[in-house]
Amino acid sequence: MQADLRPGAPTKVRRTIKYESERVKGFGREVMAVPGCDQLVRCIQCGTCSGTCPLSVYMDHSPRQIMALVRADFKDEVLRSNSIWLCASCYACTVECPREIRITDIMYALKQRAIKERMYPKRFPIPVLAREFTNMVSKKGRITETLLVMRLFMKANLLAVLSSWRQGIGLVRTGRFVLRQERIEHSAELAAMLATTDSQAEPAPKTNQEAA
């Protein structure tokens, strides 16, 4: 379920009963097996992350709740939440966490998982931007921001083009509207490099039996 992001929308407190059957056993362990995410086991649910996070008020689950849900194996609820996509990687929680849990890195692990399993809200612009960004870099080696934003608008939000016309004119006026795609000389070399990671086996996630 997605939080209501419209201005003035009332902040609702939701109380949801969670059922054992919703758990995907082993999910928490899989996330904690990702390099950098192992400290999650030490979380004491103090909520410092949620208090530090500049975006937690917009999240359907606060960072503290996400940490608890991951540990308790509520995979679907975590991967479908908007929280992981609202994380802007400011690393405030990571620096502040008294248990030295790298919360930002856990959010990255969850984003990667959601993209891999296509479990993000449809037409939700943030993962669309991540994918378009990745495609452009993989092909050209560099990002041309204005072209990237135009692609994002086309894929996720055509209306945004209309509301941003003033900004577009401003960019042209200040000479910041770049239409020529930046690219590197050895883009084929880069593509070959990136391709080598596909052929290497991923570390096998622990099976449900092992985890249980």
Binding site: I126, A130, E182
Partner: protein, 292 residues
């Protein structure tokens, strides 16, 4: 002083004024920045959201090219590039598996990664290598009377920087003071600007930018100084939308290097100051300039 230089995509696009001011200012201080040959995008936050191993390979290619270029430190002005390149160094140090993945990938192009090139930010170089005394000596047009709010943003100081404090960084404050500016106490100096959320989820992203701008104005700042191309864009290019939602908060946001350039007597038009949406007022008539 010679450094390798990784500009990053933004400095060739929306953030070109940063490069336009950084290069002459560094040259003025006797610092030579040699752009890396055929560098590629660092991957920023987006690539890491999709594929961690590819993101590591992508960033490591730049580190390998820097190593090949010579024993110089690598300077990168963009906050995202600075974070990603440093993060990649940490990942490669911590994980043998990732190191093997990256070496295999780099090997296809005859590159290797040894991990011995420090990745540094211009603020670090300016304060710790060049030194505030040298900066002060070069000031011909002190920014006396100009009230500046120093805004660092998030990713330069967190979580990998060792040259400044994660919560109350002061390198830019000291640099501004050396230029003769009046440094405004700005407790939001490391608060997130909203990053790419200003474009993807404006309701959430723009509010963060708004809070920063409003607080800077409330504290009487004439201008906000920044060190990140995305922060500059967010604080500069959305004033129409911000005014419509919450009321006007017009205040110019410029790069610290642009202010340095002005203090060094470099003409405004050579510092990319014409690229701001909200233009900075010309400096008040200079008091008798100190002898150079």
């Amino acid at each position: 002083m010679i450094y390798s230089y990784f500009p990053g995509c933004s400095l060739k696009g929306l953030g070109r004024a940063y490069e336009e001011s950084l290069l002459p200012v560094m040259r003025h201080l006797g610092v030579e920045l040699v752009e890396l040959e055929d560098w590629n995008c660092c991957g920023a936050t987006a690539y890491m959201s999709v594929d961690e191993r590819k993101a590591c390979v992508l960033a490591a290619r730049n580190l390998a090219i820097a190593e090949k270029a010579g024993p110089h430190d690598l300077v990168t002005p963009c906050s995202a590039c600075y974070l990603v390149l440093n993060k990649t160094k940490h990942q490669l140090q911590d994980s043998e598996q990732m190191r093997a993945t990256v070496q295999t990938a780099l090997g296809t192009a005859g590159l290797t990664y040894a991990g011995n090139t420090p990745v540094r930010h211009p603020l670090d170089v300016l304060v710790h290598d060049v030194g505030l005394d040298v900066v002060k000596e070069r000031v011909v047009r002190p920014l006396t009377g100009l009230k500046v709010a120093p805004y660092y943003g998030c990713q330069v100081v967190r979580p990998y920087a060792t040259f400044d404090d994660a919560w109350n960084p002061t390198t830019m404050d000291r640099l501004l003071a050396a230029l003769g500016a009046e440094v405004v106490d700005f407790p939001l100096k490391t608060k997130c600007c909203g990053a790419s959320l200003t474009g993807t989820l404006p309701e959430a992203g723009l509010r963060l930018s708004y809070i920063l701008l409003k607080e800077a104005k409330r504290r009487g700042a004439d201008v906000i100084a920044t060190i990140c191309p995305l922060c500059q864009f967010n604080l500069d290019a959305y004033h129409d939308k911000l005014a419509k939602r919450w009321g006007p908060v017009r205040i110019p946001t410029v790069y610290i290097t642009q202010l340095m350039g002005l203090a060094f007597g470099i003409p405004a038009e050579e510092l990319g100051l014409n690229r701001c949406f909200v233009p900075m007022k010309p400096l008040p008539a200079a008091p008798a300039p100190a002898p150079a």
